[in-house]
């Protein structure tokens, strides 16, 4: 019941992840951050099997930062997405594959074009205008299909995200304890204040 959402707009990419850290039916933590920044303008959100997620994400983060230090240039979001796919694809055919689903959002440091990449544990890669992982896909993609436009502002993006989380609160059987929301713009990654306390009741 982990929720990952991503929305691109005119000059930004929004990434949101649920705050509940769960083990079986128990909520262990209500302030979990399921994202890691890979460099100044690329953010990755992850869900999946407990140990695998953070291990894989921080392995990717370390390699992205190593590249930045060695070459004094950051990899573009597209380059990082393909690197991550390669790592996940070789893991898939190993003895114990990583069971991790990812959303990779960023803004190109040169062209300032926002981008969002959807990756599942099979290492299927898809560049998308908006994306979700897990059960959230079934509730949110239809909302985003109807309301998303490629040239929305950050404010409109956050409103869209609220529509999605409201629907999730309404329909998911387990409370996901709100969302961590971050925006990537040409100026870097920024935390977004997001109201988690709003109660949404099913109609």
């Amino acid at each position: 019941m982990e929720v990952l959402l991503g929305i691109t707009g005119k000059d930004f990419t929004l990434i949101a992840a649920s705050k509940a850290a769960m083990r079986g039916a128990t909520v262990l933590k209500t302030s979990d951050d399921k994202t890691r920044s890979l460099n100044k303008h690329t953010l990755m959100a992850f869900s999946g099997e407990a140990g695998d997620t953070v291990q894989f994400a921080e392995y990717i983060q370390a390699n992205a930062q190593l590249y930045s230090m060695r070459n004094e240039t950051d990899l573009s979001p597209s380059a990082l997405a393909h690197f991550v796919r390669g790592e996940l694809a070789s893991s898939l055919r190993s003895r114990k594959p990583y069971n991790v689903n990812l959303l990779l959002g960023g803004v190109d440091p040169i062209s300032h074009k926002p981008s969002l990449y959807w990756l599942d544990y099979l290492a299927s890669l898809a560049p998308l205008p908006y994306a979700a992982h897990g059960y959230a896909q079934y509730y949110c993609l239809s909302i985003l299909d109807k309301h998303h436009h490629p040239d929305i502002t950050l404010h409109q993006g956050i409103k869209l995200l609220t529509m999605c989380t409201d629907e999730l609160k309404r329909r998911l059987p387990i409370d996901f304890k709100g969302m961590v929301v971050k925006a990537v713009t040409k100026d870097g990654i920024r935390d977004i204040e997001f109201d988690d306390d709003k109660v949404v009741k099913a109609a």
Partner: protein, 206 residues
């Protein structure tokens, strides 16, 4: 239903015409019944007149297409010339058979023109590299049954490029409309001696 070949869905078809060939694919990427992307092309170019269509598991479509980009680049550096379609077909075959007991879950289709004679060449493969040579058409993906039916009824020998485009497009579009796992637009390539035309078909978006 949970066969690796039909998790993501997709369709591809190649046809022979008069001094030309055509190859076309749909654009859907799904997870079972859920459509994740409607812009996932399955045709890749490896030379002036060499094209590869890959259907099956999306991760292997990406892995295999990247692998052949590497292999064809290495071939070009070694031989100082581009790869011929027939040579490329044999490269595909042997590369897939290398993974005989842990295969890539893809069904490749090769289409191209012979660089010397200009004669059309198409062939298909199973996931472990058995080549299926054909002088009419090759189909692959989750809509193979439908594509066979469409191709058998629409295709005829010695079609001119424009007629071949119409034939392959109608064959693909009408086949994917009867397959829940394929569709959402198409790419069509018409390959002639000194011209390659790529067309994007919108198709039904439902």
């Amino acid at each position: 239903m949970s066969s690796p070949f039909s998790i993501n869905g997709g369709a591809c078809v190649a046809m022979v015409g008069k001094d030309c060939v055509a190859i076309a694919c749909d654009l859907r990427l799904g997870l079972q019944a859920l459509t994740v992307s409607n812009n996932f092309p399955k045709i890749f170019q490896y030379g002036e007149h060499v094209f590869l269509g890959l259907t099956g598991l999306a991760t292997d479509v990406a892995t295999v297409s990247d692998l052949f980009r590497y292999k064809v680049n290495m071939y070009r550096l070694r031989e100082e010339r581009g790869i011929a379609p027939r040579t490329f077909a044999n490269l595909v075959s042997s590369s897939l058979y290398e993974r005989r007991f842990g295969p890539y879950f893809v069904s490749p289709v090769v289409a191209g023109l012979d660089p010397k004679t200009g004669s059309p060449f198409i062939c298909g493969f199973d996931s472990i590299g058995c080549i299926d040579f054909a002088k009419d058409f090759i189909v692959s993906g989750t809509a193979t049954d439908q594509l066979f039916g469409m191709c058998e009824s629409l295709w005829e020998p010695d079609l001119a490029p424009e007629d071949l485009f119409e034939t392959i497009s109608q064959a693909l579009l009408n086949a994917v409309d009867r397959d829940a796992l394929s569709g959402w637009g198409a790419h069509v390539y018409i390959i002639e001696k000194d011209k390659v035309t790529k067309r994007l078909l919108k198709g039904r978006q439902d």
